[in-house]
Amino acid sequence: MPRLREFLSATVIVLGLSGPAIADTPADTLVQAWQFDDIISLDPAEIFELSGAEIAGNTYERLIGYDINDVSKLHGVVAESWTVSEDGKTVTFKIRQGRKFASGNPLTANDVAYSLQRAVLLDKSPAFIINQFGITKDNVKDKIKATGDYEFTFTMDKPYAISFVLYCLTSTVASVVDSKLLMENEKNGDFGYEWLRTHYAGSGPFKIRDWRANEVIVLERNENYAGDAPPLARAIYRHIPETATQRLLLEKGDVDVARNLGPEEIAAVSGKDNIDIVQAAKGTLYYFSLNQKNEMLAKPQVREAIKYLVDYDAIADTIMKNLGEKHQAFLPKGFLGAINDTPYKLDVEKAKGLLAEAGYPDGFTITMDVRQTQPIAGMAEAVQQTLAQGGIKMEIIPGDGKQTLTKYRARQHDMYIGQWGADYQDPHTNAQTFASNPDNSDDGPSKTLAWRNAWPTPELNKQVDAAILESDTDKRAQLYQAMQKEVMETGPFIIMFQQIEVAAVSDKVNNFVLGPSFDTNIVASVSKD
């Protein structure tokens, strides 16, 4: 369209704009282009979205942390040490002395106890992580309490595996908040909730200076931080929803990191000298599932046949290239007890045999609810093609995320394709959702993924409950291995990939690391040339 271009350039020339020189990002600031429209709150007791969790991970300290290169290694952050009582129900934590919040207030055991109590009393979405230990609004002040300036106790209803307890305390909900500052901002007994939704009260390497929804998040070095001071003075996240725009900004040097590029864009920038690709396997799985309320899908041979009617390798090489790796067990790689077997591959003949055995030699027709977003929609189309080879005619019902999810949660689907991210780094989080369904009635209280797909799991329920009480870590790992094999062989879940998160990073940036979970993409160690 030469005429158009001439016209546009003429417009700019007419307006006399030669354009001021475009500056690179400042040397003491990391600028990331990122899509963060999911953030609705900055309060760690409420944060339950991926982007919010990452911000909290960079600005708050928790009681416990884990090594991002080896998730099985736990270490104290605010906690110096811990001891477990003889009956296994009470953990006593010692808190490190001499730490301060960004406000200058000292950090004591009282703050830690307040933070956990507050999360339970506010009862926002992530409160269940603490509720799991028999801690409720009514008993929280007895169960979690400071027993000294630098000591507090955490008491549970059962002797849960200590690793399970500690991993739960590594999650965002266990971030330590500044009780004094929050009490100053309290209104009508809300524990400072209204205020903290848009403010900051932590002790992490960075503090939150500003959050403008769908626009920018500005983090600034916390001079009171007890650990090594971050090399950079600021870390800025700019909300850039368009991936093509993210790529442009990166190539022009207006941002240092592009976080949401698609496979083609990653391929295009990875050839450039001044751009590095950083990636990490995440605890998120891509899967599709079969509602057992559908009598065809409830037949064991049909479930097995469908597992053989997916071309895992072809999808991995195309749609999921740079975005995921083949994985078929419910525990992501890196979790305690995770198995990395991938026994299923495309085998049309075998699948046809199984379908004939089930009484469907000519296949059948079925629907799948699909969220119209990539890579989900692409995967659904690929599955549709290979299912057709086995005689199964799959009709795709497109919808947006909240539509398909509403239907899935109401158990009204035939097949559903989606993703599932772990809430914390302990295997129980996924074991519970994929392998436990204590009450399969429509109003059952525990709405796990097994429940959503109406899959009763009488034997597995017992195993899931037993595993969180097993104190021997090796034995516990074996229990999870057995559960994964069982679910892989008989369950209504076709788990296909584990997500890989990819960031394109300017070569001026050093030590940019993506961690194994969405809240461990830490910028505190980043420096720039």
């Binding site: 158009l4 546009l8 307006l15 475009i22 926002k124 409160a127 403008r212 929804a213 626009e215 725009t245």
Partner: protein, 339 residues
Amino acid sequence: MIRISWRILRFLLMLAITLVGLLAMTFVIGRLVPIDPVLAIVGDRASPQVYARVREELGLDLPLIQQFWIYCKQAVTGDFGRSVLTSNPVLQDIARYFPATLELATLGTIIGTVIGIPLGVFAAVRAGSLLDQIVRVIGLVGYSVPIFWLGLMALLLFYAKLGWVAGPGRLDIAYDYLVTPVTGMLLIDSLMQGQIDVFWNALSHIILPASLLGYFSLAYISRMTRSFMLNELAQEYVTTARVKGLSEARVVWFHALRNAAVPLVTVIVLSYANLLEGSVLTETVFAWPGLGSYLTNSLQNADMNAVLGATLVIGVTFVGLNLVSDLLYRLLDPRTRTP
């Protein structure tokens, strides 16, 4: 005196009816869409108790009529509720995002008008010539090319390749926080506070999206100018003026254009209103934090307070601009003034 108050009264009545209608429609549509606003807040894994509590907090357990009534009562007192997405009162959000859109659309309209009117006049004077054809093609492209694609192409060329203008966003981060928002319009605020560097940076950010919007309004304005001018040039008074020996330029620019200006004012004001509400895609491509992207995001997340608030602002602006065009029309053309 009586005439003026009647006009004001009529305007206020029209405003009230329009706004209530607009609100009622948006409200009902918002409640009918198959998106669960509670789910948007509590997330996928919340317990049934948390879900039920939030539903109650939002008042979604009440009958629809009652929900609407409560909302209208609050809205009258200036309380539009809190946005789920930003955690701020909706009014505060609008005060932040609307000036960004206003600034963009205003500059877009100025560009469209300043270039569109002369183009339209030339096309009319030389009707059927090559110039006329070119103007027509420019208009056609403006109507038919997706703004989304054109925006990306413009970014590629002027920002990425030529480096003439700055990229998406309103400012380079180095200039952020240097200006205290007063009007919320960066070009004005930076000048008022003597921050010339910030002004140039803001201008180099806004010029591309504003030109793009300007192009779309130009397509419309130049076409309408051409048709109004053709109409005027065929009038007797134009012939008379020529016979009297006035220069062609004087005839065209002073006599004919002056008369064509009356309907043109309406065209420009309407085009301005269109830019204000229709800049959603431009705002997305250019990561422009304006009311358009605020509204889109809120819609996608079933953030109904924000959707209703933003709709209301757009509605008021639309009605207000119509009144302005109405008044200007009367001012410019005495014949339309009722005795």
